[in-house]
């Protein structure tokens, strides 16, 4: 017999109401990354070369810049969610775990900021 009230079951929320947050965000970012990564791979392969002039001309396109920023943000968030679970599974010592998770969080924030900054710098024309 379940002790949960019918209302609680209908609302679908767990006791803390945010138990599924990590799981759901991982799925949302996964779904978003399907088209984003396909676009990125196909676009890179479609470029005639990867020299500076070609790549910057490509990145100056509004859609390219927009999608690249989305790719960097969603990929770093998805990566952060995934790596966090791996550390939680395989680093049992609480101290080492906290330190590792902190370092990885900072690293992912740095990657996201650097990626967005780089795309914006080129797209907005500051990159020579």
């Amino acid at each position: 017999m379940s002790l949960r009230t019918p209302l609680r079951r209908v609302l679908g929320a767990g006791s803390a109401k945010e138990g599924v947050q990590h799981w759901w965000q991982q799925r949302l970012t996964a779904v978003a990354l399907l088209p984003l990564t396909v676009w990125f791979v196909v676009s890179l392969l479609a470029l005639p070369s990867l020299d500076h002039a070609t790549v910057t001309a490509w990145m100056r396109g509004s859609w390219t810049a927009l999608l690249l920023i989305l790719l960097v943000l969603v990929a770093t968030w998805h990566s952060q969610l995934g790596v966090r679970v791996v550390v939680e599974d395989y680093v049992p010592a609480p101290g080492a775990r906290t330190v590792t998770l902190t370092v990885l969080s900072f690293l992912h924030a740095l990657l996201a900021a650097a990626g967005v900054f780089a795309v914006l710098k080129v797209a907005l024309g500051a990159g020579a």
Partner: protein
């Protein structure tokens, strides 16, 4: 560490079981792609820093050993992509029967190998981008 057994018990299972192999491979691929993100952002930053810096970064990025890295990234991406779709299908409650998941395990491996070969061919042979 507590004296009791701790999850996940990596060493007590037969890794030849298809479900375990596909699952842990997905994790390895995901972690490898996280490392690949470093490469992507490094490349974006080098482009943003200007033609001279990008040319210097390109010297590093076109070292022979980098071909191995790109090959690994391509394989990891293809596997994680296909295995991820399998997980998303599972999340809808479909394909969870043992026979179905066994079939999809082989399908994931076959499709991701085919996709890896195709992408590697495009990147290394057709375009020479990665060289």
């Amino acid at each position: 560490m507590p004296a009791r057994p701790l999850s996940p018990h990596l060493s007590v299972y037969k890794m030849s079981r298809y479900s375990l192999a596909t699952s842990i491979l997905n994790r390895f691929a995901g972690v490898a792609l996280s490392a690949g993100l470093l490469l992507l952002v490094y490349w974006l930053m080098s482009v943003a820093a200007g033609a001279g810096t990008q040319a210097r970064a390109a010297q590093l990025l076109s070292l022979p050993v980098m071909k191995l890295v790109y090959g690994a990234c391509i394989a990891a991406f293809c596997y994680h992509f296909v295995a991820g779709i399998r997980h998303l299908v599972w999340d809808t409650g479909r394909g969870l029967e043992r026979s179905q998941s066994q079939r999809s395990a082989y399908l994931v491996v076959a499709v991701s190998i085919a996709l890896t070969l195709l992408l590697a061919y495009c990147a290394f042979v057709l375009k020479g981008h990665a060289s």
